[in-house]
């Protein structure tokens, strides 16, 4: 069988948390999230010359805002996918692909973190 047989169930059981240190402001239909930068991209010796902010800003659209709001530490990825599918009239896997793409980007930006149940 060419189709990968591994399951994505584990990923669906994960619980995403919002970065509590992030500032959130409304922007158009979505939100603007401000987080502390993980590291300064400018080398130490050049920082007197190139001023950079220690904060980073990310614009999240309406769909991303919904995903962000659901990441309250109580909802599993599966619950968020189900709610997203109901709200936007999508099939489960259409919603899964969309939600996971938003989560992936938000994790990379440090806007949310993922927790796994030990059991």
């Amino acid at each position: 069988m060419e189709a990968e047989s591994n399951s994505w169930k584990e990923m669906l059981l994960a619980i995403p948390f919002r970065n509590e240190a992030a500032d959130v402001e409304p922007e158009n239909n979505g939100i603007r999230v401000t987080v502390f930068a993980k590291e300064n991209p400018v080398p130490l010796l050049l920082r007197w010359l190139i001023k950079t902010s220690d904060r980073k800003y990310y614009s999240i659209d309406e769909l991303g805002k919904y995903v962000w709001e659901q990441c309250n530490g109580n909802n599993s990825v599966e619950t968020i996918v189900d709610d997203f599918a109901n709200k936007y009239c999508l099939s489960f896997h259409e919603a899964r692909v969309s939600v996971c793409e938003y989560l992936k980007v938000m994790i990379q930006k440090g806007v949310i973190a993922i927790g796994m149940d030990k059991n």
Binding site: M1, E2, C89, V97, S98
Partner: protein, 293 residues
């Protein structure tokens, strides 16, 4: 009782549990596959292979088992039969699978692989294998991703783009004389800022002329149509009325998605001015009623 839905792909029809979705597919005609998944994992792969003559299925199953035994950990293997389907059930690399083969009247070897999360569901195998059939209709019938398409027999599937909230099939003939597009698009509140008739105008390819726009009500569907002419799709393009351009678009009240179908075909073809809605593309039961403009 598990609720099922019909899928028709490459003139092979099968009823699968409603919550299963196609996650992988190939659009090849001679040999290819469709893989279905439930919400947690892949559950079924359907593979076809056009062959010049029927192979010895018993030998094939034994060869297959021997090959798997060499490469993987295989335990609890036993031969199984479900009506005209035969194969084996085994635990391969700690995964319980049922592998069945079937020979169709149109010379195709069908191989199905069921993957079981815990135990084999014989009832489900029976239900699925009983529902399986080859489709030979007047038109080329496809049913997948929420689209129910009846396209011309002489067209081939040129592309099939599936994204969250969007499915698009494009068919054309080898001489590039005809073209048909079928689309189903969701998330309308997020991007559709114009009325459907205005959106339909934006889908017209360059060079469409002598357009007539109409609106037809069928059941609770409001179908917007354009009928016009267009020059040939390839050189020479002398006549602006070489081909007809027909397109319909509507929002299905049941699933709240936008459906769009368009055809480019020879102006010499004798046709009644019927809607493409229902005849070429169906969204739900209401759309099985043929409409005339």
């Amino acid at each position: 009782m598990t609720k099922t839905k019909d899928i028709i792909w490459r003139e092979l029809a099968i009823s699968v549990p409603s919550e299963w979705e196609i996650l992988q597919f190939s659009k090849k005609e001679e040999n290819g596959f469709v893989a279905f998944a439930d919400r947690y994992q892949f559950r079924l792969e359907l593979r076809w292979n056009q062959l010049p003559k029927k192979p010895n299925l018993e030998h094939m199953i034994q060869d297959n088992l021997a090959r798997i035994r060499k490469k993987s950990t295989l335990t609890g293997d036993r031969l199984v039969n479900y009506k005209n389907w035969q194969g084996f059930q085994a635990t391969i690399n700690q995964e319980l699978r049922t592998h069945l083969v079937y020979w169709t009247d149109d010379q195709r070897l069908i191989e199905t692989t069921f993957i079981w999360p815990d135990k084999v569901d014989k009832g489900l195998i029976k239900k699925l294998t009983n529902s399986f059939r080859t489709v030979d209709e007047e038109h080329q019938h496809w049913k997948a991703f929420g689209l129910d398409i009846n396209t011309q027999k002489d067209l081939f599937l040129d592309s099939c783009k599936i994204q969250p909230g969007s499915a698009k099939f494009l068919f054309q003939d080898k001489k590039q004389l005809q073209l048909e597009i079928y689309e189903r698009i969701g998330l309308l509140d997020q991007w559709l800022k114009k009325p459907v008739n205005e959106w339909l105008k934006l889908q017209e390819p360059n060079g469409v002329n002598n357009q007539i726009y109409k609106e037809t009500a069928i059941g609770n569907h409001r179908v917007f149509s354009v009928r016009g002419f267009i020059s040939a799709m390839s050189f020479p393009k002398w006549s602006k009325k070489k081909n007809r351009y027909w397109a319909d678009a509507w929002i299905c009240p049941e699933d709240k998605r936008l459906y769009h179908v368009s055809r480019i075909f020879s102006a010499k073809e004798k046709v009644k001015d019927e809607l493409l809605f229902g005849q070429y593309l169906r969204c739900c039961e209401t759309a099985s009623v043929k409409g005339t403009i």
